[in-house]
Amino acid sequence: MQPLIDKIPLSIVVLDTNRRIVTLNRALEALTGFSKEEASGIPCHHILRSKICLKRCPAMHMNEESEPVCVESDLINRDRKLIPVRINLASLKGPNGKVVGYLETVEDMRPFRELDAKISQAYSFAHLKGRSPQMEKIFQILPVFAQSDSSLLVTGETGTGKDLVAEAIHQASSRAKGPFVKVNCGALPETLLESELFGHQKGAFTGAVENKPGRFRLAHNGTLYLTEIGDLPLSLQVKLLTFLDDQVIYPLGSTKGFQTNVRVIAATHRNLEQMVREGRFREDLLFRLNVVRIHLPLLREREGDIRLLLDYFLNSLTSRFRKNIKGFSKKALRILMDYQYPGNVRELRNVIEYAVNVCQEGQIQHHHLPAYLTETKPLIKETYTVKDQVPPLIQSGLNEHKLHETEQTWTDLERKMIMDALVKTRGRRSKTAALLGWGRSTLWRKMKQYRIDQ
């Protein structure tokens, strides 16, 4: 029988009635790292080292009438690797019908787990996730836009995924092997921005001790992503327009132009048409950028996506932080599904990251969520100032959380949660800890970390 079972690619072990190993095949030798000579005569659980062996070995209760059993488990091999496996166990009967041993097969589930991970990439394009009709349309059109070399304008409120779209388009385009250079037009003052974008010549200004190529030249044969294009000063809008027309850039202080092959993707949360009417954005530049336009919807308008994203971020964050959190309680889920997410996907991710860090149980409860979600029902005001379209403001009864355009990290969010909780409990730390769902020592440590205790 040994030559036969050695040829079978599935890992097989034969046990006697005392669950000691009689023989095993080559596939199991490779899986566990134990040879048949070493394993022979040893109780199965010392060789297989599977979780199910120690918790409730199926062979212990098997008799003549028992059906074969299939269980999912894991084992640790001799290389100290934890391997997910599926174990099938059946009793072997003699001519008189009595159990004379057991036959166990062990399937390595790692390839299936990788496949599961790939399948879970459904409802996505690159790192964007969504199954709502709005996102489906965007996923369908993105590859088409990627193949085109036209300038692209991505609009949408903060946290809707504009950066991800830009990068996804670059990766799906023929320029994927080229550089992807990102510039935040709102981050630098005008003088520095010109030099940053277009480069400068040595001696162009005080401090220009050498030639600098500029981001356009660095993005040659690739993609230049201009985020917050609405913040680009008018003088630089002219230069950008020149580039879009001629594909030529003129570094600061130089009369000589340089030809570059760059695809421009621009993004903004502002209403550019309104800015054109107010004279703060050039109409001709808008026409040039608006050749291809993608508008990303608000998260609360994406039917069904909130649930998808909650599960997606919970899975990826629990895996990243090595937590064993299985899901949300009904109350927590209701709170999360009812919330309006003015910060869109970025805010949803921050909320889940906070909850995963705070939760020490197997399920996210409502008290693991940031305090502002569970306080008085938030009012959504679609407010637009005279000057700009600004993202909607949330106003709660106790706190005014103005979600700014700049990114809120989890650290900022956590600090704010602690401050708000302290205000609510009038500085009583025990009550603050209880409100946040933490132990007092955890609160003390975090207050020290954020220097709130001073």
Partner: protein, 114 residues
Amino acid sequence: MANKILIPLYGNDIAPRFDLATEVLITDLDENSENREEKIVVLPQASAEQLCSLVITEEVDVVVCSGIEEEYYQYLTWKRVRVLDSVIGPRESVLERFYKGRLKSGDILYDKKG
């Protein structure tokens, strides 16, 4: 010679899995290698992290175990704890070989006829 040894147990044998053991034997040999103090610690639940924490707080010199994940092996080694893993057999046989200075990772001391 290393004095303090920790062995996760499954009955009277070395536990097949470090992360699933709920009982550990901690044995402390005095300087003359004559008197041996033994105690069995029962853990409230199986947890590799808790076990590693116990190893550190008890100032264990050597861990003798069977299956252990690379992550915990590396952690204990980094904490200057000697780990002899993939050891299979009853605890007495394992300890006897250890005190003779002959125990190494991968040793199988099981009585195959028994």
